[in-house]
């Protein structure tokens, strides 16, 4: 589809200046992937809220007001109040911060674990591959939740242990996907060509394997961010997540949200909708990034 396009489109500059690369990228994001751009904007908003949560929150996260319990959304409390009279918006904002920390740290670490294991297994192959894959098999036979419950009940709930356990869980399982694409790229002719010209393994990894697994890595990372936030919510739901009274979206959903669902539906709706929106936004943004970063997709829809 691109073959026809080449050379006949003088409007597209062939040499994109380095300085304007980011601008032209953002321009292309909005022009070619409007949905992805919307996702990106929501994602940035989420980041912004997470970073400046303490400043943005109109009330303290644990500030109670017994006179204004279970109030419906109003100007003073845009998302209403919960059963202890705490402002739901403030708690959502602080929750965004916690979810962001957990989501990005765990998904980032998981991706690194996947890449390291996947490349070790897929590129070096043979015995290394065999050993790593059997280990992954064994690891994957443990149900995720059981492992989490064991760790949390052993060392108690807290952000660091949740992040590490989630990173290992998703990282080791995801290494399979990375391994698969590494194996297929290792067999590509251009990798063979690089070997035949005398390139060292490090050169081949950096210039041939890594750039070509980037689409998989981006998708894996964005799916992971959503999944980790959801898993944390699930853990909080079971009372094993970030310990209360720290407000994570999961604990808000499971705690006051579930108990007072009929009296104050906003208690469940606010964190639930935020969770859905952010996870969806990250996913469409990731898909758009993957497509735009692929040079073959340039100029195509």
């Amino acid at each position: 589809m691109n073959e026809v396009n080449m050379g006949q489109n003088p409007a597209v500059p062939l040499l994109v200046p380095r300085k304007g690369a980011l601008y032209s990228f953002i321009f292309r994001l909005f022009k070619e992937k409007p949905l992805g751009a919307v996702g990106g904007v929501i994602f940035l908003l989420f980041l912004f809220c997470g970073i400046f949560a303490d400043v943005l929150a109109p009330y303290g996260m644990n500030e109670t007001n017994m006179l204004r319990r279970l109030e419906a959304p109003s100007l003073a409390h845009p998302m209403g109040t919960d059963h202890l009279g705490r402002d739901v918006l403030s708690r959502i904002l602080i929750g965004a911060k916690l979810s962001m920390i957990v989501g990005f740290l765990a998904a980032g670490m998981a991706t690194v674990v996947s890449i390291v294991l996947g490349i070790a297994s897929g590129y070096f192959g043979k015995r290394t591959d065999m050993v790593i894959q059997r280990f992954v098999d064994a690891w994957m036979t443990f149900p995720d939740l059981i492992l989490l419950i064991v760790v949390v009940s052993m060392i108690g709930p807290g952000i660091p242990q949740i992040v590490v356990v989630l990173a290992l869980l998703y990282g080791i399982a995801g290494s399979r996907i990375i391994r698969g694409s590494v194996v297929s790229i290792r067999e590509n002719l251009h990798t063979h060509a690089a070997q035949s010209m005398g390139a060292r393994p490090l050169h081949i990894l950096c210039y041939h394997i890594l750039p070509n697994i980037m689409p998989v890595v981006i998708v894996l990372f964005t799916i992971r961010v959503g999944a980790v936030i959801l898993t944390e919510a699930g853990l909080s739901f079971l009372g094993l997540g970030v310990p209360p009274p720290a407000p994570t979206w999961g604990s808000m959903l499971s705690g006051s949200g579930r108990t007072y669902m009929y009296l104050g539906p906003w208690l469940a709706l606010a964190p639930g909708l935020c969770l859905t929106l952010v996870v969806y936004a990250i996913n469409v943004f990731g898909d758009a990034l993957r497509d735009l970063l692929d040079p073959r997709m340039k100029g195509s829809r």
Partner: protein
């Protein structure tokens, strides 16, 4: 078994000498991938490449042409035999010892769509061997060299910032050739380098290769199955069947006067580009199927399908014999 050229190691004209090369692939079976046998993909191949010549290897798919080339480059484990590169025995060189030599032997692949990294710009694809072997002193020189190479293969230096998918098959093959030329090699191995291209583009690329050979004194090791391409392009041709060479000789002689029954059959299968002549011409198809390499025929490997096989063909491996201009491994020739 030797190609009948006497002691060559001192000869400066010889770029590569391959002696009795064997590449056997293990057959692994069972849970533990135990080796239960060997497939002799290349089984005793000997030849020499002279500086500045085009040596073509022809034969049907699976006869071991590419494996021979990969083994010659030490990209494929060698079972036995010797490979000499400029008189230097490289058969057992370690990967790190091979590395500096690799810049002098470059490859051009059949598929110009797979052999170029889709995520690299054309400039850095062509410059890759330069970066791998650190063959430039500063950035300006590097850029200049890439531009020079692109002009050499008939591309515009301005195209260096484009990606491979923006080029046609023929242009991509030119990029691959420019990359092969970058480190100033002595030997270029073309593994079916034009088979994937249209006929008109094939001619262009072949002409380009011939011009480059003249300008840069290159040696080509050309793997092909298209005999008409080989005929106009090669100085010497070797015909391979089931892991062994059956005939080696100057291109013209071999094509106009094939000696080995397999070469004759192969040439007989080439269609004539003229419908009237073609309609009167009967292509005799070689009888039977290519035997499995797991259990190759004894003696001459071609004997089960050979129309003129003699009793000894089934158990004695034929020696090389000079016959006219070519050298042939067949019991019909040699001492009678």
């Amino acid at each position: 078994m030797k190609e009948p050229v006497s002691d060559l190691s001192k000869d400066n004209d010889i770029l590569v000498q391959v002696e009795d090369l064997k590449v056997h692939f293990p057959i692994a079976e069972g849970v533990f991938r135990r080796t239960v046998g060997w497939v002799p993909v290349v089984d005793g191949v000997s030849f020499v490449l002279r500086r500045g010549e085009t040596f073509s290897l022809v034969g049907e798919s699976g006869c071991g042409k590419s494996t021979t080339a990969y083994a010659m480059l030490r990209m494929q484990p060698v079972t036995s035999g010797r490979i000499l590169f400029q008189g230097e025995d490289i058969t057992h060189y370690s990967p790190s010892r091979m590395r500096p030599l690799r810049r002098r032997m470059q490859m051009v692949y059949q598929d110009p769509f797979g052999s170029l990294n889709p995520r690299m710009k054309v400039g850095s694809i062509i410059g890759e061997p330069l970066r791998v072997h650190k063959l430039f002193t500063d950035k300006a020189k590097y850029k200049e060299r890439i531009g020079e190479l692109m002009r050499l293969v008939g591309l515009l230096p301005e195209m260096a910032d484009r990606y491979p998918h923006e080029f046609s098959g023929g242009q991509r093959q030119r990029i691959a050739i420019a990359r092969a030329l970058a480190p100033d090699p002595d030997l270029i191995i073309c593994d079916e380098a034009v088979s994937a291209l249209d006929v008109s583009i094939q001619a262009q690329v072949l002409n380009l290769l011939m011009d480059l050979q003249e300008q840069l004194n290159l040696t080509y090791f050309f793997i092909a199955h298209d005999l008409s391409v080989v005929r106009h392009f090669s100085h010497r041709v070797a015909v391979m069947y089931l892991g062994r060479m059956v005939e080696i000789g100057p291109g013209n002689e071999l094509f106009s006067n094939p000696r080995h029954p397999y070469t004759q059959a192969l040439l007989n299968a080439v269609p004539t580009p003229h419908p009237e002549v073609e309609s009167h011409f009967s292509h005799e198809v070689i009888a039977g199927e290519v035997p499995s390499l797991r259990n190759p025929p004894k003696g001459c490997r071609f004997h089960p399908r050979c129309p003129v096989a003699k009793p000894e063909c089934s158990h004695v491996r034929p020696e090389w014999a000079e016959e006219g201009g070519t050298t042939v491994a067949c019991h019909l020739y040699g001492e009678r």
